[in-house]
């Protein structure tokens, strides 16, 4: 999975290998009519790292993630992915290039079971045509078994065996978030985009989620881009942090660098008031 630029890679303090640049955002500007959501932002994402995007409400973080996932197309700037300039793409095309995501507001099929939801994550890996699918014959049968095996591994990994057959609508919030992560993981992405994975969770659920994110990164070498409000989580999890405010980038670096950046403190972290 690592890119072929060994000279650019480095090893983190805890022994993970970070590769070369996977994706580079160059001077991205995104407008909605007169509103400028993202103003001339550039940053890069390296293979194997956990990259966080933080900022106050309305800073443009989710828009940035939507640009990466192809949901929005920026008016200016370009995205270099795996060394090539990415043309305008529809989200499903982006998904096929190995980018999966979760949503801030859970977007699962509520009436379907957890298992079926996660199976939808494998959609890009299924090739059988509609007739084979309908008759459960040949390639369709083989494919389903292979995909089910992959899905079962994800289920095992995220420890959600007990809700395998439960309809999603019956699950509590924390578990739904986990199922969403499972669906994204089932796609076996190279880059995983997580939009506020811990929002609305209690302390224990957050801890579980943190462990899963780290494990995903560690076990599969998946590159992770995440948006999160919980500062403790961001500082603990990520290798590098981009800080946004009013659509502009005001900081970029390791958690320590960002924490000591004057402008960031002023804009977001605030002066300790207690």
């Amino acid at each position: 999975m690592l890119d072929t630029q060994p000279d650019e890679g480095y090893t983190t303090a805890d022994g993970r290998k970070i590769g070369g640049v996977a994706m580079e955002m160059k001077n991205i500007t995104l407008r909605f009519g007169g509103v400028v959501a993202i103003k001339d932002i550039s940053f890069d994402i390296r293979w194997g790292e956990v990259r966080a995007i933080i900022g106050p409400n309305g800073a443009g973080k989710s828009s940035m993630l939507n640009v990466i996932s192809g949901f929005y197309n920026p008016q200016e700037g370009e995205i270099i992915y795996k060394g090539y300039r990415r043309p305008r793409m529809r989200p499903y095309q982006v998904a096929r290039t190995g980018i999966a995501r979760t949503f801030q507001n859970i977007a699962l099929f509520e009436g379907m079971s957890v298992l079926d939801n996660i199976m939808t994550g494998r959609l890009n890996h299924m090739k059988a045509n509609i007739f084979q699918q309908a008759l459960w014959w040949g390639a369709a049968q083989r494919e389903e078994e292979e995909n089910r095996e992959k899905v079962e591994k994800v289920i095992d990994f995220l420890e959600i065996q007990h809700i395998r057959k439960t309809p999603v609508a019956r699950l509590p919030y924390g578990l739904k978030k986990r199922v969403e992560l499972a669906r994204a993981l089932a796609a076996e992405p190279s880059i995983l985009l997580l939009d506020e994975p811990m929002a609305g969770m209690n302390v224990e659920e957050k801890e579980d989620m943190c462990r899963f994110i780290l494990d995903v990164n560690d076990e599969f070498g998946t590159t992770i881009v995440l948006i999160e409000h919980d500062m403790g989580v961001v500082m603990d999890l990520s290798d590098r942090v981009v800080v946004m405010d009013y659509g502009k980038k005001i900081g970029d670096g390791t958690p320590d660098e960002v924490r000591n950046n004057e402008e960031v403190i002023k804009a977001y972290l605030g002066v300790t008031d207690d």
Partner: protein
């Protein structure tokens, strides 16, 4: 089988395994659900896996008499690691997997474990934390690879790698392993189990091959267990019962041990497996019944009526049928119809359809709960035992099952009652000693082999069945000289589904008071049905209507206690509902979920004072420990209620 086997009984668990691999080669020995599918191993395959592991242990330098700690959830490979350790002459020491690092440190240090077999990363992390203070641990072996890649592997191995190495070294180490296997005798230590210890530090109970195999043989014959039986291994491996059921009896009879996919899937797995032999503490039977009742509340009126009609009939006829007592043809036919419509489907849903023998023990079981399962035709029985006895002291024979006794002495067990009412026993299963604790051994076991149980009880004259009243040391006196048996009262309280836990105080006092824990499942479901909003246990526990309900329960218990002349002084005069659930992480309970009375008494001394005072509310702050070991405080103002008491005991006027 027993008559032919009796002449040359295999002298150790590995020897039993070798026998099973011959006799039952192609029968399934283990099953585990992984990746959504039940994987299985025959006895022959099991023997091969265990041998490979034992060879691997030899390659790592495991010596005779080494202690090998095993920590993790019930999984075949962890059971194998116990037998593999025995094969090389080492002694397995299973530990409670939910123990926090400090608790684990004591045990690992006490037994001087050189090897630790850990289930997953979580357990490995704890062991590494322990290693800062405990220096004896040389090797950590782990079963689940997940998250382990970054760890320093200089003194750490994946269990499957150990097996691979063992297989590779079969030529070189095979003779040594065979030599060590041949050395094992009836008097070698089979396993060391740490008692949970309601008081003080845990003690290591040393059980020999004789203890385990003799006990397994006698108890298997008692219930006519046979190859082809199925059990679900889901109780902590550190608990003696699990060792006897999933290793002792399983290896003796050659039945199949099924391991669930994860702790949370236990109920689904139970249903998929449909065990024929089943053990569960009363709490689990209670939870199952509560779930059934909650779901029935939501069912359609027709279903509800059908259910209640046929359950009433089952309560009348079911137990008689089980005990082989005469039943009229009409009753029998109606029971058959009920079986078709209600009992069968219900048992199927619970996963209990194929049960031949089911046991419960550890705590008293509520009469309604017990009757419910018996009515369904499930042969649920009670046994009385402890770690020091390799489980069995008394058990109920088929056809003589009652809710308030624990049965007759198990085969080979002698029981006597001392002057003060304490129960003593002597049996082939009686433990060898407490490890490195000669004083305690002497206090518990006399030179003739009689062991004090610490429980007070008596034999019923008419039936010869044993009845247990309470822990001998907990039985005290009220200020006026009356008998104080807190457990007796607590059990009566706990029989109400709304009450999860109760602690009664009153030793040397003039009246009794109680702490109550509500059952979040039962009370929560009630709140939901009545559109009562709550955000936490604490809030729910403080609601006026909840307190009213609990007060009713307490008064009902008082009324029933008042009937008993000896214990009428134990009626609860005042009570409060605690603002937190009693929890093993806070040290208030043991890992087997028994209340540590003294600790609760110290920790909540302010609440007890308030209960004996005259205020009707009290403010308190309590330290709590979260699952990851961090601490926090919760604050609450608790309402204290007066309960009505009955009979001539009424000294306190109810307000």
């Amino acid at each position: 089988m027993s008559t032919t086997a009796a002449q040359d009984i295999p002298q150790s668990v590995p020897a039993l395994l070798e026998r099973n691999a011959r006799l039952h080669a192609s029968r399934t020995a283990y099953r585990e659900k992984e990746f959504g599918i039940w994987q299985h191993w025959t006895w022959a395959e099991t023997a091969e896996e265990v041998r490979a592991m034992a060879l691997g242990f030899l390659a790592l330098g495991m010596e005779r008499g080494d202690y090998v700690a095993i920590i993790g959830r019930n999984r075949p490979a962890l059971y194998w690691s116990m037998v593999a350790a025995q094969s090389v002459g080492a002694i397995p020491v299973p530990l409670y997997q939910d123990a926090v690092a400090e608790e684990m440190a004591y045990v690992l240090d006490h037994c001087g474990a050189r090897f630790v077999v850990a289930g997953d990363q979580e357990q490995v992390d704890k062991v590494i934390e322990v290693q800062q203070s405990v220096t004896c641990i040389e090797q950590i072996l782990y079963l689940d690879k997940r998250g382990m890649r970054k760890y320093d592997h200089s003194r750490m191995n994946w269990l499957e790698d150990v097996q691979t190495e063992g297989r590779a070294a079969a030529q070189r180490l095979g003779p040594e392993l065979d030599k060590r296997l041949a050395e094992l005798t009836y008097d070698h230590t089979c396993v060391m189990l740490y008692t949970s210890g309601t008081t003080g530090k845990p003690k290591g109970v040393v059980l020999s091959n004789r203890n385990i195999i003799e006990t397994s043989r006698a108890s298997s014959e008692f219930d006519k267990l046979k190859p082809g039986d199925e059990i679900l291994a889901y109780l902590p491996m550190a608990w003696v019962g699990d060792f006897i059921f999933a290793i002792g009896q399983a290896y003796w009879t050659g039945f199949c041990v099924n391991c669930p996919e994860s702790a949370q899937t236990m109920m689904t797995d139970l249903r998929e497996i449909g065990p024929t032999y089943y053990f569960a503490p009363p709490r689990i039977f209670e939870t199952m019944l509560t779930t059934v009742m909650i779901r029935m509340e939501d069912a359609s009126p027709i279903k509800q009526r059908l259910f209640h009609h046929f359950m009433a009939h089952a309560r009348k006829v079911g137990p008689k049928l089980l005990d082989g007592k005469p039943v009229t043809l009409g009753e029998r036919l109606k029971y058959g119809l009920g079986n078709l419509l209600v009992y069968g489907p219900l048992k199927d849903t619970l996963g209990l359809r194929r049960i031949r023998v089911a046991y419960t023990a550890g705590e008293a079981i509520g009469p309604e709960i017990f009757a419910f399962y018996r009515a369904l035709g499930i042969n649920l029985k009670q046994l009385y035992g402890q770690t020091e006895a390799s489980v069995f002291i008394t058990q109920q024979p088929d056809g003589e099952v009652r809710n308030d006794t624990v049965g007759v002495p198990s085969p080979g067990v002698e029981v006597r009652i001392a002057e003060n009412g304490e129960v003593f026993y002597r049996s082939p299963g009686t433990f060898v000693e407490y490890y490195k604790n000669a004083d305690s051994t002497r206090d518990t076991k006399d030179p003739e082999g009689w062991v004090a149980t610490g429980d007070a009880g008596f034999f019923e004259e008419s039936t010869g069945h044993l009845r247990i009243i309470d822990r001998a040391k907990d039985v005290g006196k009220m200020a006026d000289g009356g008998m104080f048996a807190p457990k007796y009262v607590e059990n009566k309280l706990k029989f109400f589904p709304n009450i999860l836990e109760a602690v009664v105080f009153g030793n040397n006092r003039d009246r009794c008071v109680a702490f109550i824990n509500i059952d979040l499942g039962a009370v929560g479901s009630w709140a939901e049905r009545n559109n009562i909003a709550y955000s936490s246990y604490q809030e729910l526990a403080g609601l006026k209507r909840v307190l009213d309900t609990i007060q009713e329960h307490v008064e009902q218990v008082n009324e029933s206690i008042a009937q008993d002349k000896m214990l009428s002084g134990c009626q609860v005069h005042r009570f409060l509902v605690l603002h937190k659930e009693l929890d093993a992480d806070d040290g208030e309970m043991t890992r087997t979920r028994k209340v540590r009375r003294r600790i609760v008494e110290d920790k909540f001394a302010d609440l007890i004072d308030a209960l004996y005072g005259d205020k009707d509310s009290v403010y308190t702050e309590t330290e709590v420990t979260y699952e990851d070991g961090r601490k926090g405080r919760i604050k609450a103002t608790l309402e204290i209620r007066d309960a009505r008491v009955f009979g001539n005991q009424q000294r306190i006027a109810a307000e």
